[in-house]
């Protein structure tokens, strides 16, 4: 498949880097200020695009919009997640669909905030929208629910934010306070300079909203989620939990049409108490009991793996 990659952050760059090893070509790349488009039937050399990005912080000499007009099969939308109208990611996806092109999202905004709108545009297009990378990084959560059949899935829950999980893990293991561990996470690059999206539960909530949209066929946005974060949680609450064989995890759940994210007590050595930046998705099914899928929930190559899995599905239209 010929890919146009919009967004040249950690995920976008990893897609550019890895596409060839999955048998796909990159024909256009855009970041927020520039783009580069391969002439005619040619493809871009990933190394030179990535080198220019790291040296000059641009990917090419064209305006960013030029990438959307390139001759591609799949638009990979990897711009930062935005709330509300989910722009510019939503607009990029719509532009691709209106040209009957496929869209693979790494950006959560369009499927969390405007799922129904996006599906309506998709309905009138020959292109399709896939978004495995938006939930749990490399973990195949969306596809698994799709395969099981949303009607046969009674609940989905899990640890969906690696930053929050890292902070809770360190606090419990070392008895350190929240501020201390957060600063450490920032030094390690595990937490952003502004960690509010992660520690206040917004990021996990967006992922749960996306899962709710998959489970119930749309109708959900962030406003429907009940969200509590872990910011300011005292270390003492974790030691009290530990005395009882429990620990605290930021758990997101979708069950009976209700989306909730908040700190929860879970058994200290239980399945959901994954440690560090690890994520886990737990799926309750009608006929097959409980499934647990855990793995790396974030990171460039990890998320790009999910993006390229979606591209792979689109390149096999019979089973996509």
């Amino acid at each position: 498949m010929r890919l146009a990659v919009v967004g040249a952050g950690v995920v976008g760059r990893a897609v550019v880097d890895l596409a060839a090893s999955y048998g796909h070509d990159v024909v256009a790349v855009a970041d927020s200020s520039s783009s580069v488009v391969a002439p005619n039937d040619e493809t871009l050399a990933p190394d030179s695009v990535l080198a220019r990005k790291s040296e000059e912080d641009v990917v090419g000499d064209d305006a960013p919009e030029a990438a959307l007009d390139a001759d591609y099969d799949v638009l990979v939308e990897a711009t930062p997640t935005t709330l509300g109208d989910a722009e510019p990611g939503y607009g990029h996806a719509v532009a691709a669909l209106e040209h009957d092109r496929h869209v693979v999202l790494a950006n959560k905004g369009p499927v969390a905030e405007r799922y129904d709108d996006l599906r309506a545009v998709e309905h009138d297009s020959a292109g399709r929208v896939l978004f495995e990378a938006t939930v749990g990084g490399a973990i195949p959560a969306v596809t698994t629910i799709d395969d099981l059949g949303p009607a046969h899935v009674t609940a989905v829950r899990g640890v969906l934010n690696g930053t929050a999980n890292f902070v809770l893990t360190r606090m419990a293991a070392e008895g350190l306070d929240y501020e201390h561990v957060l600063a450490e996470a920032q030094d390690l690059g595990v937490a952003e300079a502004d960690p509010s999206f992660d520690v206040e539960g917004t990021d996990a909530a967006l992922k749960c909203v996306i899962l709710a949209n998959v489970l119930y066929g749309g109708g959900y946005s962030l406003a429907d989620a009940e969200v509590e974060g872990i910011d300011g949680l005292p270390t003492e609450s974790l030691s009290l939990a530990a005395e009882d064989g429990m620990t605290v995890r930021l758990i997101g759940s979708v069950e009976d049409g209700v989306i909730r994210v908040g700190p929860r007590l879970v058994p200290e050595h239980g399945t959901l108490a994954v440690s560090g930046t690890r994520n886990i998705v737990q799926i309750e099914t009608d006929h097959a009991g409980r499934l647990n899928i855990s793995g790396r929930g974030a990171g460039g190559p990890e998320t790009a793996t999910a993006v390229l899995a979606d591209v792979g599905r689109l390149s096999r239209p019979d089973d996509a």
Binding site: D177, L233, S237, L265
Partner: protein, 186 residues
């Protein structure tokens, strides 16, 4: 403490006997425990075990005692009535009580917002009783944020209801509730 099986008034324990758990709250005075146990034998109950948590007080300052016994449903009702007539505070009584145990951690200005009132409100609003709690003060000086682990005994199937009520009480006092993920099924 236990009695010989079959010591009930009407001879051997009948097939219709059921196991019951009675949770009593006793005032810390000599003779209170005996006072509480006497009506059980007198009314044909078969005492199985008594769990007396000395040194542990309920939020109301009473000593919680948990009594397991066997009796027919009719006798059991008489026992509960007799206990109450004797002035013993029977908090919970029944074979199907305590189906669920919930552990939560509360975080916030627990002391300033009157923790015992918080827990009493919860007990009034639901079937739950506070079985145990443990309090931890923040290490940093000047910070009055406190954490408490609270174990609640609730009737089977009411876990979700209890957590909803707890959230409501906690919200009024701006407390954070770290809930158990899934309430334990009966």
């Amino acid at each position: 403490m236990s009695e010989e099986p079959g010591s009930a008034l009407d001879g051997p324990v009948s097939d219709t006997d059921r196991a019951y758990t009675v949770r009593l709250e006793l005032v810390d005075q000599p003779g209170e425990l005996l006072n509480a146990l006497r009506p059980i034998a007198e009314n044909g109950g078969n005492l199985l075990s008594v769990f007396h948590e000395r040194g542990h007080l309920t939020p109301r300052g009473h000593i919680p005692v948990e009594v397991d016994l066997e009796a027919t449903p009719e006798r059991f009702e008489r026992i509960v009535d007799a206990l109450r007539e004797n002035g013993v505070n029977v908090v919970r009584a029944g074979a199907d009580r305590y189906g669920e145990q919930l552990t939560v951690v509360l975080v916030g200005h627990l002391v300033d917002t009157d923790l015992s009132d918080t827990l009493s409100q919860l007990e009034r609003a639901t079937s739950a009783t506070v079985a145990d709690f443990s309090l931890r003060l923040a290490r940093e000086e000047g910070d009055s944020v406190t954490s408490a682990r609270v174990r609640l005994d609730a009737e089977a199937g009411t876990g979700r209801e209890v957590l909803d009520a707890l959230r409501e009480v906690a919200a009024e006092k701006e407390l954070t509730v770290v809930e158990p993920l899934v309430e334990v099924s009966p």
